[in-house]
């Protein structure tokens, strides 16, 4: 079970959004994608989700080119949580989560027992069961984010791609989310998250891919990749490492000009 980018690039209106990026998602791992704003993190996730076609290189799932697969077949295996959490009309939370079953339910079929069980279990795991009958439009940003994570779980996909899933969450729910992603990886899912919080990467991710201006800067196990030198070069920050006994290393950043 494997989803990978092979030297993939995408060009829109003559400009390369990302170029020559290789990335490999395997079960059991949390893969972080980091980089400054505009580095191409979301683009890489969209390529992996099959939402955009690569202009060069390829995206493959278990050896099959993703763009040749049917949309529904991809959606059964790859779940994607975008950054935009806007919900237009007044759907209830349960209805939103149940939409995660769309790729499994035929056009004129009604959802079966397994579908509603998957929806219930997804709502439990994302801690939104108590919101089931609320209108999604009346939720707080954090609650909505967790509803979208629940929808992603309801697909029962093997590959979970999340774009900044903790951006709207308070620290408590952010930690819950990371713990959940870690647990899902331990159960055999392959997880990829685009993140800004490098401390979260250090603490929760197994591997990290660093992008800079659409190019692959470095990729590998977190401890090897996030060196002082790389952080300085890519993010333009100095770094100190604090050793917090229980939680491992904590990074503290400071602007380069004040450090020098």
């Amino acid at each position: 079970m494997n989803l990978s980018l092979k030297e993939a690039g995408i060009r829109v209106d003559g400009r390369w959004l990302v170029r020559d990026v290789s990335l490999d998602l395997s079960p059991g791992r949390v893969q972080a994608v980091v980089g400054p704003n505009g580095a191409g993190k979301s683009t890489v996730l969209r390529l992996l989700a099959g939402l955009w076609k690569p202009t060069s290189g390829s995206v493959e799932m278990d050896g099959v080119q993703l763009p040749t697969m049917r949309r529904r077949a991809v959606a059964r295996r790859v779940a994607f949580v975008p950054q935009d959490t806007h919900v237009g009309f007044a759907f209830r939370v349960r209805e939103i989560v149940a939409m995660g079953r769309h790729p499994h339910v035929g056009r004129f079929e009604s959802p079966g027992r397994h579908d509603s069980a998957a929806v219930d279990s997804a709502m439990d795991r994302a801690d939104v069961r108590h919101l089931a009958d609320r209108l999604a439009s009346q939720l707080s940003g954090g609650e909505r984010q967790r509803v979208l994570i629940a929808r992603c779980l309801a697909t029962e996909a093997d590959f979970l791609l999340l774009d900044e899933p903790t951006a709207n969450l308070d620290i408590d729910h952010a930690l819950d989310t990371f713990r959940l992603l870690k647990a899902l990886a331990a159960e055999g899912k392959a997880v990829a998250v685009a993140l800004h919080d490098l401390n979260a990467v250090v603490r929760w991710a197994d591997r990290v891919t660093v992008l800079n201006a659409g190019r692959l800067e470095a990729s590998g196990p977190v401890v090897d990749v996030l060196s002082d030198h790389l952080l300085r070069a890519v993010f333009n920050v100095g770094v100190e490492r604090l050793l917090a006994a229980a939680e491992g290393t904590a990074l503290v950043f400071h602007p380069l000009d004040s450090a020098s």
């Binding site: 975008p82 935009d84 237009g88 007044a90 759907f91 009958d133 609320r134």
Partner: protein, 364 residues
């Protein structure tokens, strides 16, 4: 977490209560439809008792060995079967078509203000019909107006697509802007033709009346012209009900859940053009039905399309039948144009719903 439960008593309904509300709605709406149809056939310049109406209809539909009534008057038979029944049916078809088209477009555009005019289809259909009038084709055969209206609706959508598509993708924002701009252009063209046609007062008056919508002198021909298109359009819209739900979450999200976004969008827009063409072809320009009906239903039953679309079809039919009944009965001499009634009757009702159920509108 119990505070979260108690915090929102107004909007949410438990699933079983929601189901009960849906069943009650469909039963009520179907009953209304039947009542409106019977009232539409029996009330008019010559009043016919509703029992006679039912007797005439039963004699027509049921085989003689099931039901053979005493002969009713031939005049009443002609009024019921040849004049009022086709008119009521055409009204129902047009109302259903406009409401379903509006509901679909509001879904695709993720905008509760969308209806057939935002893709230029209704203006295109109107221009087509105006051309049929000014070229005197309309006077030659009743088929010309529907034909030209259809051509106009399709032509308009084709142009809007041509303008807003790029590299196989059609962004809805561009589509909306192109549709509104082209709609304005087509309206202007129609107005120009009307103003030029004023040399012939008779034709001009006919066009202006037609532009205000109306169901006068509708025959079975009009029923058979619109029925197949409305049927195809409504079935196609139901086919895509779940995809439309997902589109409300945004195109990217729905694509990631397996929806073929561009294909669904294209089918929905062409379906809306078919429905709009079918409605305008037989009822003229009737505003507001496509906007107010789906919106009102959404306030009552929620946004899920597998419920919203059939409910809109039934309610749209009912709405237009009642409006037409008002249009031909509020004044003693002559009819008020249908488009005037739909707006005058629909807008206050809509505003009432908006005020009284504001809490449930929530994210709209």
């Amino acid at each position: 977490m119990s505070s979260a439960r108690t915090a929102a008593p107004a909007g949410p309904l438990a699933p079983h209560a929601q189901r009960r509300r849906r069943v009650a709605f469909f039963l009520g709406a179907s009953l209304c439809l039947v009542l409106a149809a019977v009232a539409g056939v029996s009330i008019g310049s010559t009043s016919i008792h509703w029992q006679s109406v039912l007797r005439i209809l039963a004699a027509e539909i049921l085989p003689a060995w099931v039901f053979s009534p005493e002969a009713s008057s031939e005049v009443e038979r002609v009024i019921v079967l040849q004049i009022r029944l086709p008119r009521v049916i055409v009204g129902g078809l047009a109302g259903a078509a406009l409401a379903v088209a509006g509901a679909q477009l509001q879904g695709v555009f993720r905008n509760p203000l969308a209806e057939s005019s935002v893709i230029g289809a209704s203006q295109g259909a109107a221009l087509g019909a105006v051309i049929a009038f000014v070229t005197h084709l309309a006077a030659r055969s009743a088929l010309w107006i529907p034909l030209c209206a259809f051509t106009g609706a399709f032509g308009a959508l084709f142009l809007v697509y041509l303008i807003s598509s790029r590299g196989g993708r059609t962004p809805v924002a561009t589509l909306l802007l192109a549709g509104i701009a082209l709609g304005a252009f087509l309206s202007a063209a129609a107005s120009l033709l009307i103003s030029l046609s004023f040399v012939d007062w008779q034709v001009a008056a006919e066009i202006v009346f037609w532009m205000m919508g109306g169901l006068d002198n509708r025959t079975w021909t009009h029923v058979w012209i619109s029925l197949p298109f409305v049927a195809v359009g409504v079935v196609a819209s139901l086919w895509l009900a779940r995809d439309l739900d997902l589109l409300l979450l945004g195109e990217e999200t729905s694509a990631s859940l397996g929806v073929q976004v561009e294909r669904v969008k294209a089918v929905v827009l062409w379906t809306a053009a078919v429905l709009t063409g079918a409605a305008v072809a037989v009822s003229g320009v009737v505003g507001f039905a496509g906007l107010v009906v789906p919106h009102a239903i959404r306030l009552v039953l929620g946004p899920a399309h597998r419920v919203l679309l059939p409910a809109s079809a039934i309610s749209g039919a009912c709405f237009l039948m009642i409006c037409d009944l008002l249009a031909r009965t509020v004044r003693d001499s002559g009819e008020v144009r249908l488009g005037i009634v739909t707006a005058a009757f629909g807008a206050p009702f809509f505003l009432y719903l908006l005020r009284s159920r504001r809490k449930e509108v929530g994210g709209i």
